[in-house]
């Protein structure tokens, strides 16, 4: 690995310092329990992921990349308790809006309705950047998880584990896919 890699590493989660105390005191605290990643919740996360990175004519989407299963491992092991709280509060909010506003569970909603919900969370976060932002966190997680998955790296992008050689100058034609690594 080249040392420069540390310069370009992607910020996948919000730094813990961005989490304000006020936020925790004021809002309904989500309890992070073992087994929180139930089968039902993983299906929901798959649907959230698929809304952000959908399958298209050229490549599969986040659901095919088992994004919910990835989140289970990543959020459980790599997120701080504070970050896990933000994560679950956001997910619970998605559940609530789905029921309250659209009268159904998120996975059963139409694509436009799903997008509306996520968009509302996204724009909500833009109002005050001091508070933790659920949508950028979720979005970064989905994007990272998708493009490092086998379908994401090999179908949406180009991936070769062993290129064999390096060539510093090859023509790029508009539309050519980017390298995954």
């Amino acid at each position: 690995m080249k040392r420069r890699r540390f310069l370009s590493s992607v910020a996948i989660i919000l730094p813990a310092t961005m989490v304000s105390t006020e936020f925790f005191l004021s809002s309904c605290k989500a309890e992070v329990k073992e087994g929180y990643f139930s089968e039902e919740n993983i299906k929901l996360l798959d649907e959230i992921g698929e809304t952000i990175i959908p399958a298209t004519s050229t490549s599969p989407g986040a659901k095919a990349a088992k994004i919910g299963g990835f989140m289970k491992v990543y959020v459980t092991d790599c997120y701080t308790p504070e970050e896990q709280n933000i994560f679950w509060q956001g997910v619970n909010k998605i559940k609530k809006i789905s029921k309250d506003k659209y009268g159904n569970e998120f996975p059963k909603l139409a694509l436009l309705q799903k997008q509306e919900i996520l968009l509302s969370l996204n724009s909500e976060n833009k109002i005050n950047t001091d508070t933790p932002q659920f949508y950028p966190m979720m979005k970064n997680l989905v994007v990272f998880g998708f493009f490092t998955s086998k379908p994401g790296a090999t179908k949406a992008l180009r991936y070769i584990q062993t290129p064999g050689y390096y060539k510093g100058n090859v023509p790029y034609k508009k539309g050519d896919k980017a390298w995954a690594t």
Binding site: I52, A153, P163, G164, G168, P171
Partner: protein, 572 residues
């Protein structure tokens, strides 16, 4: 020490003992064994066999549960080593975890270690420029230290000797500040890097961006094939161990080469407690070793001893080698042992974006960075600081981040991220630091490690010279990049503690005067001539070039000196 369980002196006697199997210890083993010297290599960690013990080398990104990121627990358990750029899911098994070997940070020092056969040669950065006489004469010319007892001419043939064997790619650029070596073909510059190179020449005339000089087999020669190594396949996954032996490590090259001679014994799990000094014979006769698993103590004996335990551990061993003759550490009449610890200033990085070049891309993953050779304080002092710096630089074109796309979700957002984004230009600095007496390591008087060896106290810090050098790097690189059309330039001072550079040096420095130095011009202790220190501990100043190949070069040179002396009947 507990009971000495010597199985009889004869059985535990070799011609030479090498302490450490990393990048310099491996070279000592190769050179000595090739010349018929029966050699014992002591390694405190486990064995790592080339290919067999590279569990992650064939893994894809999705094979890692956390996609090569660290878990919260790994970070919490390892506040020091988790700062290291290569301590990730794919290579963390080649690093010492914080709890495995505690040390005392009197001032913050990130001590990054690799306790296994091969040491840090498995995970090293692989950058291998030669020192020039500007570096060797720097301390004397600018009066910031004691003169080196050697010059470029003394080491040049040994650089060649090492380069031919390990394989260095690069191009002969004819630069006085960075002498040419024995090079295999270089990794090509991409179009943006070529543009940067041209822009530097046009705008400055005397600033050179050149191809990487890196320990990769771009086109193996017979000597490399004979080692069982092959061409670099441009994977840029080197830190996992290479299935092709495409980059140099002790494990892929020097150690198996030494083993083939039949003269090598490697003993893993053997931490060296101290070197045994015989007052009557006035020389070192062997080493005390503790088995890291059983804690059993054993003594091994030899005619010469090479200390290659990595900079700080070599200092620790010498400091802990106490006798009536040397109450302050082996060979330490001068009192300088453990002092003048220095390192490289790796705090600065700077980058930006460049428009255009949309119709060009690259194939494969370049495992190297281009180099802007040092242009400071060469013939004369031309900056408000002492020393010089190397600037690494390059350009890449990653997957677009989709940030400009208004709706951060959906098919078009996804599609935008499957295409390459704009070209990005990056750089980082490797700056010389000045050896100072107060920057030192010493042994704890009361705290010991689990093998009964005193813990090391680190007391090393930056000074204002480092800040000035860093500032100059920012100002100059921003100017150079701006002139080349790089925009949105941002720079960062990581303010990282010394040590995280993993270029710690000194403490047992070479010098002409035994009153102010530990080692003579052949790397032997002035006051104990059959002990040689040829790892980073021997450095009298840091220069601005990457140090590992100089350690290898000095090791090969010292070993051949030993062999010649043995032929004359010396080192009995």
């Amino acid at each position: 020490m507990g009971n000495i369980n010597s199985k009889g002196i004869k059985e535990n006697t070799y011609d030479a003992i090498v302490i450490g199997s990393g990048i310099s210890g491996g070279w000592a083993a190769k050179e000595l064994c090739e010349h018929g010297v029966k050699t014992l290599v002591l390694e405190r960690g486990r064995d790592v066999k080339h290919l067999i013990d590279y569990p992650t080398m064939a893994k894809d990104p999705w094979d890692f549960p956390h996609r090569n990121e660290l878990t919260l627990k790994e970070k919490e358990d390892n506040p020091v080593v988790s700062k290291c750029y290569a301590f990730r899911e794919d290579a963390m098994h080649f690093f010492v975890k914080d709890k495995e070997h505690p040390y005392i940070q009197e001032k913050p020092f990130d001590w990054i270690r690799g306790y296994q056969v091969g040491g840090k040669s498995l995970t090293w950065g692989r950058c291998t420029q030669r020192w020039s006489n500007f570096e060797f004469t720097g301390p004397q010319r600018f009066e910031f230290g004691w003169d080196w007892p050697i010059r470029y001419e003394d080491v040049a043939p040994w650089y060649s000797h090492v380069e031919k064997f390990i394989g260095i790619c690069g191009s002969k650029d004819g630069l006085e500040a960075m002498p040419d070596g024995e090079f295999l073909p270089p990794f090509e510059l991409n179009q943006v890097e070529q543009h940067l190179k041209d822009s530097l020449l046009k705008n400055y005339g005397d600033r050179y961006l050149v191809h990487a000089r890196w320990a990769h087999l771009t086109q193996p020669n017979q000597i490399h094939l004979d080692q069982g190594r092959g061409k670099c396949n441009a994977r840029n996954l080197c830190q996992r161990g290479c299935p092709f032996g495409g980059y140099f490590s002790s494990n892929s090259s020097t150690l198996p080469w030494a083993a083939k001679t039949g003269n090598l014994t490697i003993r893993p799990f053997s931490v060296v407690h101290s070197i045994i000094y015989d007052e009557q014979q006035q020389k070192a006769t062997g080493v005390r070793v503790i088995d890291t698993n059983t804690k059993e103590a054993t003594e091994f004996f030899a005619r010469v001893i090479f200390v290659n335990g990595s900079t700080l551990n070599s200092n620790l061993i010498l400091l802990n080698s106490i006798s009536n003759r040397f109450p302050n550490g082996l060979g330490n009449d001068s009192g300088v042992l453990g002092k003048y610890i220095c390192h490289h200033n790796y705090r600065g990085s700077l980058g930006g974006e460049i428009d255009g070049f949309d119709d060009t891309y690259y194939y494969g993953r370049n495992p190297t960075d281009a180099i802007i050779a040092n242009y400071r304080n060469l013939h004369k002092k031309d900056a408000d600081f002492i020393g010089g710096y190397t600037t690494y630089a390059g350009a890449h074109r990653d997957r677009d981040d989709g940030q400009t796309f208004p709706q951060q979700m959906g098919a078009e957002y996804k599609q935008s991220m499957t295409k390459p984004g704009p070209w990005k230009v990056y750089s980082y600095v490797q700056g010389e630091t000045i050896p100072k007496e107060k920057n030192h390591v010493r042994l704890s008087k009361d705290k010991k490690d689990e093998w009964g060896i005193p813990q090391l106290i680190t007391s090393v810090e930056y000074d204002s010279n480092d800040d000035k050098l860093l500032n100059d790097y920012f100002v100059q690189t921003e100017e150079m990049f701006s002139k080349a059309g790089v925009k949105n330039i941002h720079h960062s001072d990581s303010k990282q503690a010394p040590g995280l550079d993993i270029h710690e040096m000194g403490g047992c420095r070479m010098g002409t005067d035994p009153k102010t130095s530990m080692l003579d011009k052949m790397n032997a202790l002035h006051h104990c001539k059959n002990v040689f220190v040829t790892d980073g501990a021997c450095m009298a100043s840091t220069g601005n070039q990457s140090p590992s190949i100089l350690y290898m070069t000095l090791t090969a040179r010292a070993c051949n000196y030993v062999v010649e002396e043995m032929k004359k009947g010396n080192f009995k």
